[in-house]
């Protein structure tokens, strides 16, 4: 259930930026969540409405952009999506290593 404190933080950050721009209401929060970030987009959506009640984000729409994790091949340098139980590059069968792609978890922007 650790989507709860993290959703609180999302609302805090959005409300801070709204206040800085003299807005009392956040209309949209654009969030980027990688599939390897450990957070499930639908769980954040589920808790969002409940936690946002009474805050500047009460009526905000949550836009979640998911990022599919990509590995980088250590032989040919190509980025690829891995198959289960393998890290092999589909182009050259070389070994793929982790990248930051898929580990994102940040607020890109808000709309007021």
């Amino acid at each position: 259930m650790h989507e709860y404190p993290i959703t609180q933080r999302i609302i805090e950050i959005a409300a801070e930026h709204a206040a800085k721009n003299n807005a009392s209401e956040v209309k949209v929060i654009n969030l980027v969540v990688g599939d390897y970030s450990g957070y499930v987009a639908s769980s954040i959506e589920l808790y969002f409405e409940i936690i946002a009640e009474g805050s500047a984000c009460e009526k905000a729409k949550l836009n979640i952009e998911r990022v599919v994790p990509k590995l980088k091949c250590s032989s040919c340098g190509e980025l690829f999506v891995r198959k289960p139980f393998s890290f092999d590059c589909p182009y050259c069968k070389g070994e793929g290593g982790p990248t930051e792609i898929g580990q994102e978890f940040y607020i890109k922007s808000i709309e007021i």
């Binding site: 390897y36 450990g38 007021i112």
Partner: protein, 217 residues
Amino acid sequence: MTENKEIEVMQSVYDKNDEVAAQINSSLTESGIYAFNVMGAPGAGKTTSLINIIKRLKDVTSYVIEGDIEADFDTKTLQSLGVKAIQINTGGACHLDSPLIGNAVEELSIKDGVLFIENIGNLVCPAEFMIGEHAKMLISTVTEGSDKPYKYPLAFEKADIIILNKCDLIPYIDFDEDFFMKGVRALNKTAPVVKVSGKTGEGFDQVVSWIMEKVSL
């Protein structure tokens, strides 16, 4: 209808946690403490490994912060061996986070030594949260199946050392070491993988050498 105004934010949701973690890390460094975040699935042998390590750490004082959802069995065991250990019960949270550790470190009030923070038994979440540590220690086992690096890549990627426990049981199980190592090395080119047995004590001298090297830097 007025159009919405878009404001760029580009802020990580982990920002607060990471800020607190960085503060804890500086404060520990200043106090001469080297901290390890000890992670692993429930029952992998985190506490048993710590006991084996601490017994072999001469000339260095060891401290432990124990994280569990409930109960304090592990803390009592460590205390009975003369180790200064304190318990954190999260009551449900599946990982330790930096504010919790910050409070515990203050309570311990320690200088000059090694701090082991035993995280909640969980192969998923602890890898995502910085808690002020200098290095991450992953306790993996031959009994969890050789596919764990493929199923839980983040834990293996972030580890600074991987301790492969329960090796005394290898004759009785099907553990494909090549498949396991292939997965580990794809994710993590540098972490040493040390085969140990919490039951026999085998392999822990090597772990302790690695720790002493890290601590003396």
